[in-house]
Amino acid sequence: MIEILTTLCLCLVLLGMVPTLATFAQFLMVGLHGIWNHYSKCAGHTPRVAFILPAWNEADVLGASIDSLMDMDYPVGAWRLYVVDDASTDHTSEVMRQKMAQYPGAVFHLRREKGGQGKAHTLNHGIREILAGDWAEAVMIMDADVLFEPLTLRRMTRHLADPEVGGVTAYVKEGSEPSSLLSRFIAFEYITAQAAARRAQNVAGGIPCMAGGAQLHTRENLMAIGGTIDTSTLAEDTYTTIKTQICGHRAIFDPNAIVWAEEPDSVVALWKQRLRWGRGNLQITLAFRDLWFRPRRSSKFGNPAFGVLWFSIALMPVFMILGSAGLIGLFYLWPSWAPLAFSVLWTVTFISYAFQTLFSIVIDPQTAKRAWFEGIAFPGLLSLGVMTLAILGLKPFFGSGQWPPTGGWSWGAIGGEIGVLIILGWSALSTLAAWGVYRIDKAGAPKWLRNILLVLVGYGPLLCAISMGAIIGQLRSADLKWDKTIKSGKARLPT
């Protein structure tokens, strides 16, 4: 019986390594984008593009976004902006009157009198209007706070010269000025999650999400996916992306097409935004349940590697908890194996972290210049301490490199059983600690205290905690409500 339980614990430890190994493998594919990319099929192609900008009380950011579009290097008259006003109650109408007078024939105001149903419904109002006419050859879905660099649209539309391509997305960078610790964490996260991961996804041939802040579709593709954006999930951009590829079109990420956006500046706001994304992704997991691990249904998403990557991210906290449970189980069942399993798990984590951090710095040196510290502190200083312990073979705390024997309960010494359990369970406990940081921020703690705790506990564990919140929310079938992230117009284009 003990043998079976011990084997089970070892399997749990291996399961705990799945997200680390999956993201590491994905990172190893990034460089191949230098060989396998879509640039050879690009051409100087400038179709007529209709931008759709859904706006609900976005008057503070709308003006800057419209002005940034006017600076685009794209043929005059070959693009239009449709601002879909979701029954705003602020001075959006006034801003739009000014902008329509300033840019006649380029900016249009579509107003919904009954709003509040969410982004997808607002987008659909605009898409219906645009598809009713025959002017638009492509449709760009964007967010109100997104700022386009002058060449971004050209860089995106060049991919549409390939008739196989249905959608293109850009690299969304965090552009808040002045920046904060949290905005720099997000900036670094976007290097790993977009600039790196989506290059690898281009290589693999399937992209799970074209960013909703800059999602370009051909007219044909929009018609093929039904002419509307799905309203049944909270992650309409992911749904549209998967649907595009299921309908036989390619989705492309262009890492050199850059837009800038403002991201949340408090843990509470980040939690709200990411909880919506997390629950949306779980809804999509169910909505496309016929695809995962079934290559015959869809060669891209049915691919086992893609499935492992999708689930290891969507269910990351579950893997973390399983890994910790496995280590603790080993400590009691087969004590001599626990230090080895611990060292292997955290050493692999360290190697993956070191590779991803160094590589991310090189991928986007402009962002890394201001967010290098956040890149290093991404997993949290406490987790880095645990990694150090693993690499050095436990010797800094336990001279012989062995755990203290079980049954030696002590709160006083780090070498006591409580200390051992905390270290073994850290990947799960860090998620709990990150939830504590959220609660402290929600309780109105000073920013300096929140920042210190965030650096100690880590931004990665915070994302894990939010994923856990999303899983629990889905399991409890908690109310689903479209909750907009408030933007204040802090994003700036680099000068």
Partner: protein, 59 residues
Amino acid sequence: MKAGDETIALSTFDAIRAKDLRNEKRVMWSEVGIAVILALLVAGYIAWGFVPRGYLFDR
């Protein structure tokens, strides 16, 4: 994509594409460099584990 389809000056398009391709090559070779350095460090770390205790410093 028929009507309204303009073709930008080939030189502009080629210049942008050449710049982006250079960036992709830079990313690729950077990855190779970082992977080699890390692999050497990991190999050194593993090899260190096989050195008999006291062999290097206690003689």
